[in-house]
Amino acid sequence: MSERPILVVGGGPAGMEATRGLAAAGYRAVLVEKRDELGGTPVSGSYAALTPDFRDAGEAMAEMAATIQGDPLVDIRTGSRVTDASGQAGAFAVTVEGPGGSEQLEVGAVILATGFQHFDPGRETQQYGYYEYDDVLTLVDLERMLKTGQVLVPSTGKPPERLCFIQCVGSRDRQIGNEYCSKVCCGVAAKESIEVRKLVPDCRVFVFYIDMRMYGYWEPQIYWVSQEQHHVNYIKGIATQITRTKDGRLLVRGEDTTMGRPMEVPMDMVVLSVGMEPSPGTIEMAGVFGLALNKYRFIDTLGGALDTVTTSVPGIFACGAATGPADLEDSVSSAAAAAMKAIGVVRRAALAGST
């Protein structure tokens, strides 16, 4: 008996890498993506350049997609969603609804790569005025702007003279319930700070932080570069509040803790380094497949540090930011691990069926 195909849900970096891995190993994969195009959040969020290597996000995602598009072992279904699932490891029946209607598929294992969504600053504990002031942006808004090749103050249309990032918005916050670090925001802010300085060399750029978290090579790749070559100012102290002065400029209030002095500094633009939360798709798929969520509503994985992809249901694996905050390196690595474990399930089921 030949192996059943493996279902991959989510066509972002993790889902595409899992699919690529399955096909490379000679296994059939069905990739279901609810959006009309592959690429996940880097594409839907209009990312400009990837962290930490500054690769063009659109090109990089297109390159990943090209590795699976046209592969005879890969059945890509965009504009589609999984609406029902039953069965067990080795033999799942899933209902996929797509442009062509509803269809039932037999699959041997499932990989969920349904990702995250950016934290909505409307729920922040602090008073940053994202919904009140046009010149308060998120990392994602700035990314979109960087993609146009220009950084302009929304309210004036002019380049900013002073711009700051505020870290940990929606992360590491017991008041909001997101107690975790979102891992990528420090790196993304450092990357964007470099891009801003390159595009607007006269703009002074500040990063207000609790702790800067630059793992491994991110230190020399982006953190040091931003400080040493682009003279970005890093200040330990989280802004309490953003208000607006009479002349319409933003005013950031906080404490410069290591200097031990209060700060009340004008800014033309403020960028909130919003963290990660489970995407609606992640929560929805956990419901469809009956998976346990952790207390932050990411998909729970059972294996601790040594197994990052095994979920509460045998035969179903999760990877990337569906299981918690993850950078691209994490996402593709866990995707490959999930692909390997899924292959194990369908291969062993096939072997059992043939004896």
């Binding site: 729920r123 005025g129 009140e132 046009d134 702007m145 146009t148 302009l152 208000t243």
Partner: protein, 396 residues
């Protein structure tokens, strides 16, 4: 390629709260759970109530009437037009209420000032007042934001400490009272907010040409913030809707200023024994900033300490040539004024410090004539022709 206009106009952002993502436990559930376990009784918000929402999108019920007015010692003592205006609006709208005498102060002003008390005593004082309200069948409505804040804190402590509940239950039993927790802790300004459309229907003094700044009380929206009221259409649900909602309903231009989130400088002990701090803060961080940035005709706030500090601090500052002179009153006083209440018999503006006559002039209110009326009424009291002024003297 994304067009620049899309980047330059992000104001289409709207925030939609999801009660399912609220980071705190829902106190309603816990309160009713403890009722089921026999720990206390819950006093329900009487029907008909008005539904409003908190910052997480959870529903809060505001009673329309059958209210038991938990008065504020600072308001009744030093700004008596504040609570008088609350009662006057109730009467004008034909709503039933009780102004009780089986009520003590929450004693929190003293507690936050001197710490000469403790958690059990404070909880017992709160629950004694709540029990007194429940005995009447009327629902407590809290006039002071510090009482409101302190009672929220007390409720949180009682919810999570069986030991404190036991202690307070025993104390109340000795007083012949039951442990009763109200379903909601309601601040009077939330009631004003909830009935603002009715208030606006009764508006007889036009305020379309008025500019105002507001000051939200720390103990209202910062201390146990989940009870505070927010609304989509007011500040995009990013600041409490209270006061602003009323002012907008009355046609007033509510203006922003950069220190809106700052405290007033009251400080509890400072306002009584270290007033240089309160005065400096109120003037430099609030009044002068408002005057400079927003040029308001009036400052409206909703708490005892805030009205006191922001109003009374301006006199000495004026002597030092500071940019002050901004009349201060409560939302209840302003609402009553809009509905035609007498500025002295009801609003009792002669208890305020900062000159409010230019504001009354701007509203077209003949304050000289109104003061003469008040003086005439007082003369009757002095002569013994009358012992008290009553509601009949105040057009309700």
């Amino acid at each position: 390629m994304i067009p620049h206009s899309a980047i330059l106009k992000p104001s289409s952002r709207t925030f939609v709260p999801d009660p399912g993502r609220a980071p705190t436990e829902d106190y309603h559930e816990l309160i009713f759970e403890l009722e089921k376990e026999g720990e206390w009784e819950v006093q329900r918000v009487p029907e008909p109530y008005i539904e409003v929402h908190n910052k997480y999108g959870r529903t809060k019920k505001i009673p329309l009437q059958k209210t038991w007015h938990h008065k504020s010692c600072g308001q009744c003592g030093h700004i008596p037009g504040y609570s008088t205006a609350v009662f006057w609006i109730n009467r004008k709208l034909g709503l039933d209420y009780i102004d009780p005498t089986d009520q003590t102060s929450c004693t929190a002003w003293n507690y936050y000032a001197s710490a000469t008390s403790n958690a059990a005593a404070q909880a017992a004082v709160a629950m004694r007042n709540f029990a007194a309200a429940a005995e009447t069948g009327y629902f407590p409505i809290i006039h002071c934001a510090t009482s409101f804040g302190h009672y929220k804190e007390t409720r949180q402590q009682l919810l999570h400490s069986p030991e404190l509940r036991r202690q307070v239950r025993e104390i109340l039993a000795k007083l012949g009272k039951k442990l009763v927790m109200p379903e909601e802790i309601v601040h009077y300004s939330e009631w004003v907010h909830a009935v603002r459309d009715r208030i606006a229907e009764h508006q007889v003094v036009g305020m379309d040409h008025i500019r105002a700044t507001i000051h939200p009380a720390c103990h209202y929206h910062k201390l146990v913030g989940e009870d505070a009221v927010y609304a989509d259409e007011i500040h995009g649900r990013q600041r409490s809707a209270i006061i602003t909602g009323l002012l907008q309903a009355l046609g007033i231009d509510v203006r922003d200023y950069s220190t809106w989130h700052d405290c007033c400088g009251f400080g509890f002990r400072h306002i009584l024994v270290s007033r240089d701090f309160s005065r400096s803060f109120a003037v430099q961080r609030k009044i002068e900033v408002m005057k400079e940035e927003a040029d308001p005709d009036v400052l409206i706030t909703h708490d005892t300490g805030c009205v006191t500090t922001l109003d009374q601090s301006q006199f000495a500052a004026k002597a030092h040539g500071r940019n002050v002179g901004l009349p201060v009153m409560s939302d209840s006083q302003l609402a009553a004024l809009a509905m035609g209440a007498h500025p002295y018999k009801v609003l009792q503006l002669h208890w305020h410090s900062t000159d409010n006559k230019p504001f009354l002039d701007k509203l077209g209110i003949d304050h000289k004539a109104r003061w003469a009326e008040f003086e005439a009424a007082v003369a009757e009291l002095r002569s013994g022709a009358k012992q008290y002024l009553t509601w009949e003297d105040c057009d309700v």
